[in-house]
């Protein structure tokens, strides 16, 4: 498509903004009816968490860009190493876990000459 004129903005507004915000509004309507201590909220929490987990799995197993060419064992190794540092990281476990995973990945990419 051509990127000139008003059309791209209409395209983004309809296929981007409306397509996404519709679901956010539906979430407000649904969330407004849910009691904070109800079993339904527990289910909604579980579904929302599983959805985000699916996005995470996709980023790790099927990355796009540079990592597409990297071996799976390297990416899984980075996650496992990061996880170990996370669970034994004490007070700074979040930073420790993330830094360890990225350092592992960077070292692997450098050694493999990606």
């Amino acid at each position: 498509m051509s990127f000139g004129g008003l059309w791209p903005y209409i395209y983004i507004a309809v296929a981007g903004w409306l397509a996404t915000d519709l679901w956010r509004w539906a979430g407000v309507i649904a969330g407004n009816r849910i009691d904070e201590r109800s079993e339904v909220l527990n289910w909604v929490r579980a579904v929302a968490t599983a959805l985000v987990a699916a996005v995470i799995a996709k980023l790790i197993f099927f990355p796009t860009g540079t990592l597409e060419a990297s071996p799976l064992w390297l990416r899984l190794g980075a996650v496992v190493f990061g996880g170990l540092c996370f669970f034994f990281g004490g007070r700074f476990r979040q930073i420790a876990g993330i830094a360890a995973a990225i350092a592992f990945l960077a070292a692997g990419l450098a050694l493999l000459g990606v």
Partner: protein
């Protein structure tokens, strides 16, 4: 005898939310947006349109799909369908957040407006932090964080577009990997119910399986099937423990 603490004005919570721009999740998201700017610059989408979609769509996966549709010249209805399928996940995310932040007097129109600022990063951040904010200040706190994060990234995309046409591969690979690793650690830390750990584990496994067997609907199928299985299993265990 001590007097009850004076309630803080709404602006206090809004400003406290704004300060979240200097947090780890905000910085990681900004790095992801630097990558997105490089991606759109390479695809030759004009910078004003990239800034426009950053503000209007906000969710990063939806934008990547939108850009893909624009590049392939897809019909607007086809693009709408692809984007809307990726954005269904917003509904349970918003629905889980709303009962945590609203009070009985929060107007629905206000919730409809601030729901626009929900995307994975803001959601994970809010689910983790709002417990430390008194209920009356939670909507203002989330608005302060969400609005600031969105505006900052619109400006950021405009600034770095073109300046970062190409990264060394190791840098772009590590930038990409920050996002899943950050999400994993954050969900684990912010979980206050056992069902969250179950949903995370089952979701990761099923996410892989469905990405292989049904790549078009993998996120949706994983959410509904994996989330329901996690909830059902955890509830069954909870009942057995209660009966003991």
């Amino acid at each position: 005898m001590t007097a009850p603490p004076e309630p803080q004005p709404q602006i206090h919570w809004f400003l406290l939310g704004m300060r979240g721009i200097f947090s780890l999740p905000a910085i990681i998201l900004m790095l992801s947006f630097v990558g997105f700017a490089a991606f759109t610059a390479e695809a030759k989408i004009p910078v004003d349109q990239v800034m426009f979609m950053t503000g209007m769509v906000w969710a990063l996966p939806a934008k990547v799909i939108l850009v893909g549709s624009m590049l392939s010249g897809a019909h607007i209805a086809t693009a709408f369908l692809a984007v809307t399928l990726s954005s269904v996940r917003m509904m349970p995310m918003v629905a889980a957040l709303i009962p945590e932040i609203r009070t009985s007097r929060t107007p629905t129109w206000l919730l409809l407006i601030i729901s626009h600022f929900v995307a994975i990063t803001a959601w994970v951040f809010a689910m983790e932090k709002v417990r430390d904010v008194p209920r009356g200040g939670r909507v203002a706190f989330f608005a302060g964080f969400g609005v600031t994060l969105t505006l900052t990234n619109i400006v950021l995309v405009g600034l770095v577009y073109g300046a970062v046409s190409e990264f060394p591969p190791i840098v772009s690979g590590c930038l990409f990997f920050l996002t899943p690793v950050y999400f994993l650690t954050s969900i684990w830390i912010s979980a206050r119910h056992r069902v969250i750990y179950w949903a995370l584990g089952i979701g990761l496994a099923l996410g892989y399986v469905f990405a292989v067997v049904a790549p078009e609907y993998d996120i949706l199928l994983t959410g509904v099937i994996g989330g329901t299985a996690a909830w059902w299993g955890e509830r069954a265990l909870r009942r057995r423990e209660a009966a003991r």
